[in-house]
């Protein structure tokens, strides 16, 4: 029993080490030519643009729900006029980046894990190498760059969709105009709220792409292995995002005390 636990712990440590090396290599090769521009643009379309509907619809739904909750709380204190600003701060600082990160770890992480896993078990990755193509650069680095670029953009989309959802909830309740709503929404937020929180999603993008690509590249055992790679890609990248978020929020508060309300 203890022997198996010991082996499991050793395997986990070895995998963590492998993943760290994999991620470091992906980060380093992102800045070293030759660059796979065409494939990176294709991945930006596949992973980024095609995720936009999911993010927009989810963001709007989150905005509606947050607005309803905020109204229920602030009404007690007669502070309904603060609802747009409260919602905007919640969305821009935390809810938007984290929700976008978790949603995209589901869509993108599962996709990368399954696609690369299927390529691995059907020898397509070997075929790339045999065709004198650097499979790591072609498959991993392009996806890492695409995710790092796409996440902040999609997070911004989520923030705006959330605010729009909040407006719909608010105008349904009080008939508030669009102009007044957005004037109030932007009254309390500035760049120190938006920039650090959005830039941190670049780290989320890096985590999603490297973890999922790593699990895809390690896939064995046919279709069962592909399914496992896809599932574990979502589980591990979601967990990675949640844990990294704790560290990053602490770091943002340290560098930008104003973001912590200080």
């Amino acid at each position: 029993m203890f022997g198996r636990l010991y082996e499991l712990a050793l395997d986990s440590l070895a995998s963590a080490g492998d993943l760290a090396i994999f991620g470091f290599r992906a980060a380093r090769e992102s800045f070293v030519p030759p660059f796979e521009f065409k494939e990176t643009v294709r991945q930006l379309y596949e992973l980024g643009l095609r995720s936009a509907p999911l993010i927009a619809v989810s963001g709007m739904a989150v905005g509606v729900v947050l607005s309803m909750h905020t109204r229920a709380s602030l009404e007690r204190f007669g502070a309904e006029s603060m609802i747009p600003a409260g919602l905007a701060i919640a969305l821009v600082r935390e809810t938007g980046p984290l929700t976008a990160g978790l949603l995209l770890s589901g869509r993108i992480g599962a996709g990368i894990g399954a696609e690369l896993g299927a390529m691995k078990v059907t020898e397509q990755i070997d075929a790339l190498e045999a065709t004198a193509v650097d499979a790591f650069r072609y498959l991993v680095v392009t996806r890492v760059i695409a995710c790092v670029i796409a996440l902040p953009i999609l997070t911004t989309l989520m923030n705006f969709a959330g605010m729009l959802g909040g407006y719909f909830a608010e105008t349904a309740a009080t008939g508030m105009s669009l102009t007044l709503y957005f004037n109030r929404a932007f009254s309390l937020i500035d760049l120190t709220d938006y920039v650090p929180a959005t830039v941190k999603t670049m780290v989320f993008g890096f985590i999603i792409a490297t973890v999922s690509a790593y699990l895809g590249f390690r896939t064995e055992s046919g279709t069962e292995g592909v399914g496992r790679a896809s599932t574990w890609s979502v589980v591990c990248s979601s967990l990675g995002i949640i844990v990294a978020n704790v560290v990053l929020v602490r770091l943002i508060f340290f560098i930008f005390p104003k973001a912590a309300g200080g």
Partner: protein, 257 residues
């Protein structure tokens, strides 16, 4: 520039040479001190039952697998000692037909064949499409350019894989079980395509198979692996005269795998 003859050996020398190659996966020794050389322009067949290390041997030649011990030479280049750019140069001169064909399933059949040309030549888009169409025509798939790999039958996928493998006119073609999983007629057609390459272009063929009839038809030299070791090598006539029980068992069977 195409990959023509980039991996060819020095004049008169072997195209491929393995010296004392040993490979272990986990606790299992898959190859044990395997040595052989393949003369340029010949057809070399690696025979053996399933799981005897045939495919692993083939993968060593393009460094998809690196040996634990021993050396692999492609022409004059010791492949495990090459840097990224040099390895890429050698690989461009080698075509690889995978057992599963390994077509890229997100792009069309024609773009699969065009893929190496887009990566490694300065040809225009029109020239690339024409060359890819020519290669598909050479394997009898001229009308399948725009189809996706999933729409092809097993035999057609193998042919498309062969068209991709020869897109850069490689001087060495590696084929992993080219007729496995195909009906006998389609298998024979694939063999004929491989023989045509050798006759017309002087391509060095290294074919892994467990199909003895295919080996007899294709091979100038045969090599038999058993439990990761070389148990016999020679011409078809040498194999037919062999008193080795393993070789006799193999030669007397139609399909022993």
């Amino acid at each position: 520039m195409t990959g023509t003859s980039e991996a060819a050996g020095p004049a008169g020398g072997p195209a491929v040479r393995l010296e004392g190659v040993t490979k272990t996966f986990g606790s299992r020794r898959v190859l044990d001190d395997v040595s052989f050389e393949v003369p340029a322009g010949s057809a070399f067949i690696i025979l053996g039952r399933s799981g005897t290390g045939k495919s692993v041997t083939l993968r060593h030649i393009v460094r998809l697998v690196a040996p634990d011990q021993g050396q692999v030479f492609v022409g004059a280049d010791e492949i495990s000692a090459l840097s990224g750019a040099e390895l890429s140069r050698v690989r461009r001169g080698i075509g690889f037909l995978f057992q599963s064909a390994a077509l890229f399933d997100s792009i069309s059949v024609g773009e699969n064949v065009a893929f190496p040309l887009r990566r490694h030549t300065r040809m225009s888009d029109g020239e690339i499409r024409q060359r890819a169409a020519d290669k598909l025509a050479a394997v009898g798939l001229e009308s399948e350019y725009d189809k996706m790999p999933a729409e092809l039958s097993g035999g057609m996928r193998k042919r498309a894989g062969l068209a991709r493998a020869i897109a850069l006119d490689p001087s060495i073609l590696l084929a992993d079980e080219p007729s496995a999983g195909l009906d006998p007629i389609t298998g024979d057609e694939i063999d004929e395509l491989l023989l045509g390459l050798k006759r017309r272009g002087g391509t060095t063929l290294i074919v892994v198979t467990h199909d003895i009839s295919s080996a007899k038809r294709l091979g100038d030299t045969l090599l038999m692996l058993h439990d990761g070791r070389v148990v016999a090598s020679g011409t078809v006539a040498d194999f037919e005269r062999s008193q080795d029980p393993l070789v006799q068992a193999f030669m007397s069977s139609q399909h022993s795998g």
